[in-house]
Subunit: 216 residues, 2 copies
Amino acid sequence: MNRALKPSPEEKHQHADIPRKTVYRLSLYLRCLELIVANSGKIVSSAALASVACVQPAQLRRDLAYCGPLGKRGTGYDVLFLRNRLEEILGRASLQPVILVGAGNLGQALLSYKGFAKEGFEIVAAFDLRPQRIKAGKIPVCDMHALQPIVRKQAIRMAILCVPGSAAQQVAEQLFKAGIHAILNFSTAVLHLPETIAVNNVNLAIELENLSYFTR
Amino acid sequence: MNRALKPSPEEKHQHADIPRKTVYRLSLYLRCLELIVANSGKIVSSAALASVACVQPAQLRRDLAYCGPLGKRGTGYDVLFLRNRLEEILGRASLQPVILVGAGNLGQALLSYKGFAKEGFEIVAAFDLRPQRIKAGKIPVCDMHALQPIVRKQAIRMAILCVPGSAAQQVAEQLFKAGIHAILNFSTAVLHLPETIAVNNVNLAIELENLSYFTR
């Protein structure tokens, strides 16, 4: 979301091969290819795929250059081959375990959202200061004290952070210490964390505020 | 969110005075200032505010230059004055009416989220193909046929789009025709719309996929 507010992925993740913005676009191309597969398409030109994805063809070709050899020049991409290659790169073959921390309004809303599982992510546990207040269906809601043992035991690397802004920094540090490598931050706080942990910010209020400015 | 995938705000919104990325950062500065107000701070230096917001001081000064005169050089910003000025620019004085379209899993989750109201946005109505299936508390859930009359009558300009990706383009065109000026797009689809309508994309699965890549 407010991507512009953070250090660039190149700065933060020098160990990774593909820049973060390119990884975003690969996700997008994958979804476009899935649509083309659903419509029984076999071959797609870079111009057509770029047009569906709303990017420049040159951008698309630069992005796909990160994916290794993809076919002969001038004949278009083999849709199934490219889809499988992107799935492999983006690690969608296996279900990724994720934890959710802070099961207030938004946290509970996300716990009830079934879209994550469909995309290959499984919320395996939720954590809250007052776990007894939460109804989360089949997902166990645990006390914050259980965070570190569960993260370590299940080798979980990703967390969704939905605590109030005032608590976010402290909880994010706990997540880091527990061994979490990546945080999807729904809180309003700007997190100050070591560069080895990846943070993506999703601030729904800021998105609306931004749009609202442009409606006037 | 996947901001990199869209035309730059400068291209899309030539009528607006402030670039979209700057508007994002103004929202962020506003939240930092609210925190400083809560801590009884009166004056803040650009270096300190930039540090809290995780941006470079030069970036902060460039952004605030869009906000008109803000005080004497070298004495820091008056916290309350700057907060009020940002609230005024971002239009937070009044409650903005918003509609939500597509009350499936995620739509219902967002309807139950109380965070929007706290930030100055009120979901005044929801729309769905099968409105009778939805429980949305106090928010009326209407048939899609009622969309245009309600949007026009209440002069609503903003919509949250939560329909499945396969329906998103068609529904977005309906929103445009009804008079909506800005869409917060939670669907997986890339929307192709006239440049006069602003679109921000929030794709939770893509955010997780992106983070997941960087945890490996």
